[in-house]
Chain length 287, copies 2
């Protein structure tokens, strides 16, 4: 392990280890924590990596304590790494006033407005610094890296996949914010992070990005799960817009409506294994 | 559902439902919350019930959010109910000063000292009021009810099994406090709840109780898991004392040392399915 990482937690689970590390991030200019589960098989060989991006208000703890991901990471032999959802402790005025903006709500974008741009560089953090950090420090097969996420993190996973062609071999999402341009949460945040000019916002909207995507195509349609009782579905997530945009762009997607399920971790944990299977299948069909 | 229960949470998970209810408890004289997972199969038939007792500082949320129990309850077709670890909101002086005493730390015993005896009646709450409440309100097969728990809750499960012969057909535990008479946490609590006379304390010590037990014997030795890296093992849990007491009482027990595992939920979640299998096997061999 390189000296750049500080071990915060190490706990054996399903034969492998759940770790939490902290490190000084040069991208977001503060100390960041992340979770990483390492299965036993990674002691001896390079294994696939899944990066999971979390939802609004979560930190690096929620995914690793509330989904039972360790069982699946052990069973499938994947390293699973999950970054925090924002910079922390930067003490910028207003960064803790709203649950849908600031700490716990970075939207995985790079802020351009002066007040926020020194710290809120979550797109670059996840896809450059964090990505490289995980590859450098753990036994990752760099040809088999996927990304997925939940709600705000589903948005993050989709835009990361579309904006970094080929970097991630697979993508999936649970109840993602499908159109950040339309979602009230992200509109509020984008106004602050990016300013009033909505043309800039399109750089971080999955529906806009899919029409510009020219990278490798998935083998099976991208898996998106959504609960029929998701309380945010109609007013914040806009799955229909993504279906329409993907259809127009001839990008394959499968949006599964899960009857009776809601938005939270009880929904995510139920279908988490299906997402592992999806990514595994994509890795097995790499061109 | 009877009017005695107030629904606090209902969330679909693994095809069944995770609920949290509150109710006004006459036993502990305050409003109590509990979790209960109901698998789909219970819509049509009576199913087994497992009661899970949690550890120090937990409330009804920890077990249902941190162990992935829903997957197993669904897979095995069990109702799983978990009460809180203490009365709440009683505003007794000193009930929130220590992490190992008072709120979140009721030790599943019935207090006799005046200051605490009106509310801290957790043994009677779990084994009478809560037990009856679950049977009355959910589709439980009363011939197949087991109890298990973690740490303080492992102690609670063991003493409940021994003190209520035949009420629970099976018992198991994760890293239980094996001898409450020896554990510093419970000694502190018993002094306050029961007074100075340690002969009274023996009524709530698993090692003492096994020697008095004359109820039905388990089919397979009672399953107890303990992590070799459990930081509380030697000074608070005293597993050797339980092994010795069970041996002397000819009561069958299997204490599995799980190499490298610690005390917390990452350990519990890893071996939770083994405990479901254990209880299922006991139910299948009921005499």
């Amino acid at each position: 392990m390189s000296s750049e990482l500080t071990l915060e937690l190490s706990s054996k689970s399903f034969d492998g280890y759940q770790y939490v590390y902290s490190h000084d991030s040069f991208t977001v200019d503060c100390t960041m924590k992340f979770g990483v589960y390492v299965p036993t098989i990674a002691d001896n060989e390079c294994v696939p990596l899944l990066i999971f991006l979390s939802d609004l208000t979560s930190n690096e703890q929620n995914f690793i304590t509330q989904t039972g991901v360790q069982r699946l990471a052990s069973k499938y032999g994947f390293i699973v790494a999950n970054p925090d959802t924002s910079p922390r402790g930067c003490n910028i005025e207003g960064d803790r006033d709203q649950r849908d903006f600031g700490e716990g709500a970075g939207y995985y974008i790079d802020a351009t407005e002066d007040k926020w741009s020194n710290n809120y560089q979550m797109f670059s953090y996840v896809n450059d610094e964090f990505y490289e950090l995980i590859i450098r420090n753990f036994n990752v097969d760099i040809s088999r890296i996927g990304i997925f996420g939940h709600s705000m993190g589903g948005h993050g996973a989709l835009i990361s996949f579309f904006k970094c062609p080929g970097q991630y071999k697979s993508v999936s999402a649970f109840a993602p914010i499908c159109s950040a341009l339309k979602c009230e949460w992200s509109r509020n945040a984008f106004t602050k992070f990016l300013g009033q000019d909505e043309t800039l916002w399109k750089e971080y909207d999955a529906c806009e990005l899919v029409s510009l995507y020219h990278g490798p195509m998935p083998y099976a349609p991208v898996l998106i799960d959504l609960g029929s009782n998701d309380q945010y579905k109609d007013d914040y997530l806009f799955p229909d817009k993504l279906l329409e945009a993907c259809c127009n762009a001839s990008f394959p997607i499968q949006l599964r409506q899960q009857i009776g399920y809601e938005h939270g971790y009880f929904f995510v944990m139920t279908f988490l294994e299906d997402h592992f299977k999806y990514h595994k299948n994509e890795f097995e069909h790499l061109k």
